[in-house]
């Protein structure tokens, strides 16, 4: 039995109804599982479905348990473990504020250029950068520019290739 903890990205397709996010979060808090990151947004207006992306860590048994428990929630249509079920793309967005004098700001701008972050707000003493990338890339950028404030959106993910996550049935 694999005892070491591993990071998993799990996506969940749910009915967009009141309380559904509380059910998902309650499941994690009630049973003491980790949530590293969680994002949710409606992705299908016609069917009123939302997609929740969860990044969690746990042993193989714990991850299996998390997926089974998510699958049992009544408003849940599908649960997919992208970490196991084939290659996938993960992205995260961050807004990063840097303060400083001209010299410090120019230095930050150079790093941003090099790492493909965009300048989205500026004042004589401050820059706000927008960066999209993997969580590791964001971590690297943030450690380099020494920001005063960071806002991160959390991980969104999708499978590569032709595989599609869709609800079963209606």
């Amino acid at each position: 039995m694999a005892e070491e903890e591993r990071r998993h990205t799990i996506v969940v397709l749910v009915d967009n109804e009141p309380g559904v996010l509380a059910r998902v979060i309650g499941l994690f808090s009630g049973r003491g599982y980790n949530i590293e990151s969680l994002t949710v947004a409606q992705v299908d207006k016609v069917r009123a479905q939302s997609r929740i992306n969860i990044v969690t860590t746990g042993t193989e048994l714990v991850i299996e348990q998390i997926k089974a428990l998510l699958g049992k929630l009544v408003p849940v249509h599908r649960v997919q473990d992208l970490t196991i079920e084939g290659p996938h793309v993960e992205r995260e967005l961050a807004l990063v504020k840097v303060l400083g004098d001209r010299e410090q700001l120019v230095r930050a701008l150079r790093i941003a250029d090099f790492m493909h972050a965009r300048l989205v707000d500026s004042s004589p003493e401050s820059f706000v950068f927008e960066m999209t990338g993997t969580s590791d890339e964001l971590d690297a950028f943030i450690s380099l520019v020494e920001p005063v404030e960071v806002s991160r959106a959390g991980v969104v993910a999708i499978g590569r290739g032709r595989t599609v996550l869709a609800s079963n049935g209606a």
């Binding site: 009630g30 048994l61 348990q65 049992k72 609800s167 049935g169």
Partner: protein
């Protein structure tokens, strides 16, 4: 609205009130009895109940008891139990019952009143966030905010409660939804979008399982409440499978009655207070076939010492019960009726090639363990041993149509050990949550469903007091439940653990100032009886069973008796203690075991 207006033909479905829609949905779902307590936020529903005669309402004296009564009704019939309570305190008082039903997989639909939708969130009088509070203690819950959702939610709730792994569902009904106009939809018009639990087993997994079962030399079936939930047919199929294989079987606390308890292949209950032969068979088996049980900590003992040499097959309808505590070799997610039926068919296809002789040495070993007679006790002197009380009660009722409920503690374990059940749905106890106060209201629910049956509540002096107000309900509805309190003036199981693990310091486990139970029964208008000697015991049991109406029997038992066998917390099955004479037992418990409950 009159009774006739509930009949489909006579109803104008366009001009019903929300309350009428609720009642019509209940009728269409086959509900004949609901347990509840009124209040401001459910007055429209109570008014609608008053004006019809298809559904009986049973007025309990505390909302917790309404849920336990509905559990008793549900578990003794296989139907969904229904509860109706008001908002705020009415709803919060159901939380213990709902959690109990969730842990023990009992199908319940609980209707709670709520303040009108426009007042939700204003801290209105008797407002509580019922869906928020009950989210972790229900299988699912709903707040109905639009009248057009009402009929659909009602039908969905019943479907969710009874299908898959059954459980409690709450529907929170704001008062204006009950009073306003709503349109009825029949249950066949409702199909759930996302909830479709799997019933059919995977054929390949069944083949793998039967292969393992056929090759086994030291097999054991380990079955639980899931099999009882799956119904009489599932239990009958399992009994055939066990007979045809000739293998031994052990039942969990919740599974008692799933297989005839007096059958020679039954090893009795396993787990913390299970029999020696059941626990050692689990420890030493080479193939374990778990059906409708969940490897609960009361069953497994120390996980790394649990059945170390066996291949394990786990059949359960709940995918999250698989590999939760114990990693298994073959898992089958399915309804037990389907899965056991498939196993039986697969077994019959190959049974000619399986020799019964190969398990003969295993049975020889089991018979050796059986000789320990691990449930033995010494009835000496005139005083009543609690085990004697259970045995005598069993002997006095074994020929009748009997149902038994219990509360929680020593009496519960003695009842499980010494009362034998031949059929499913006859034994009702709070297994998962361990709710003191469950037994008496549950017995009332059983008696409502089975008016002519003998319904026994075996309780303790501490447990019974927790929901004793329900004696009023028993009187009001003339429910002739016979309650036997094994009175040792202690919270016996707490006292036992304090004796074993906490230096015999009896912190708050001595029941000072107990009521006179005989007078208490009489104060309610029931019959009270008392037995203090074995001789009196037989007389009192006979009198109680012959008395019309509810009877409360105060059975004064040996105060210091402990429940054996016992696997101490943090120990493995082979570390089972049989009696106080078993050496070194109190020192044996590890610090790791001490923290376990």
């Amino acid at each position: 609205m009159t009774a006739a207006t509930l009949a489909p033909a006579a109803v104008d479905t366009q001009s019903m009130t929300g309350s009428q829609v609720v009642l019509r949905a209940l009728v269409e779902q086959g509900v004949d009895t609901i347990f509840g307590y009124p209040g401001g936020a459910v007055l429209p529903l109570y008014d609608a109940i008053f004006q019809q005669d298809k559904i009986r309402h049973v007025l309990v004296r505390h909302e917790q008891a309404a849920v336990h009564a509905a559990e008793g009704y549900a578990r003794s019939t296989g139907k969904v139990g229904v509860v109706l309570v008001t908002s705020g305190p009415g709803a919060t008082n159901t939380v213990t019952g709902l959690t109990d039903a969730l842990m023990d997989s009992v199908p319940i639909v609980c209707l709670t009143g709520q303040v009108p939708t426009h007042m939700i969130g204003n801290d209105a009088f008797q407002e509580a966030d019922t869906v928020g509070i009950t989210r972790p203690c229900t299988k699912h819950n709903y707040l109905v905010k639009r009248p057009e959702d009402l009929a659909r939610v009602m039908h969905e709730a019943f479907h969710v409660a009874r299908s898959g792994r059954p459980g409690p569902v709450v529907i929170d009904l704001p008062k204006n939804i009950q009073m306003g106009k709503a349109v009825y939809q029949g249950k066949d018009e409702v199909r759930h979008r996302s909830y479709h639990p799997r019933r059919e087993p995977d054929a390949e997994r069944i083949e793998q399982a039967i292969e393992m079962i056929a090759r086994a030399e030291r097999p054991v079936f380990y079955v639980g409440g899931g099999l009882v939930n799956a119904g009489h047919e599932a239990c009958a199929l399992l009994t055939e499978l066990v007979h045809e294989t000739g293998y031994p079987i052990t039942q969990t606390l919740m599974g008692l009655g799933a297989y005839p308890g007096s059958d020679p292949q039954s090893l009795g209950m396993l787990g913390m207070h299970g029999t020696y032969e059941a626990n050692l068979a689990m420890y030493h088996c080479d193939v374990m076939v778990c059906i409708g049980a969940r490897f609960d900590d009361r069953v497994t003992g120390r996980l790394d010492g649990f059945s170390p040499g066996s291949k394990k097959i786990h059949i359960d309808i709940d995918p999250s019960s698989i590999n939760k505590n114990i990693a298994v070799d073959v898992s089958v997610v399915a309804d037990a009726v389907e899965a056991v039926g498939a196993l039986l068919a697969a077994w019959r296809r190959r049974s000619n090639s399986v020799s019964r002789d190969k398990v003969a040495p295993w049975w020889g070993q089991i018979e050796e363990w059986r000789k320990k007679d691990s449930l033995r006790f010494r009835q000496d002197g005139a005083g009543i041993k609690p085990q004697t009380a259970i045995r005598r009660l069993y002997e006095a009722t074994r020929e009748s149509d009997v149902y038994v409920t219990t509360d929680v503690g020593q009496h519960q374990m003695w009842a499980a050990q010494h009362f034998t059940f031949e059929k499913p749905m006859r034994w009702l106890t709070s297994g998962g949550l361990g709710t003191m106060g469950y037994g008496f209201p549950a017995a009332l629910g059983v008696q409502m469903a089975h008016p002519d049956a003998t319904v026994l509540c075996i309780s303790g002096d501490a447990s019974w007091v927790m929901n004793m107000q329900e004696m009023s309900t028993a009187i009001q509805y003339r429910l002739p439940v016979k309650t036997f309190i094994l009175n040792n003036s202690y919270m016996g199981m707490v006292r036992q653990w304090q004796d074993f693990f906490h230096g015999q310091r009896h912190a708050s486990s001595y029941m000072e100032s107990l009521p006179d139970f005989v007078k208490l029964a009489e104060a309610f208008g029931a019959t009270g009886l008392r037995a203090t000697t074995v001789e009196e015991l037989d007389q009192v049991i006979a009198t109680a069973l012959a008395t019309d109406g509810p009877v409360l029997v105060d059975v004064v038992v040996d105060r210091e008796e402990n429940v054996y066998p016992m696997i101490p917390g943090g120990a493995a099955h082979n570390e089972i203690k049989l009696s106080p004479e078993d050496e070194g037992q109190h020192e044996a418990i590890s610090e790791e075991g001490m923290v376990l409950v």
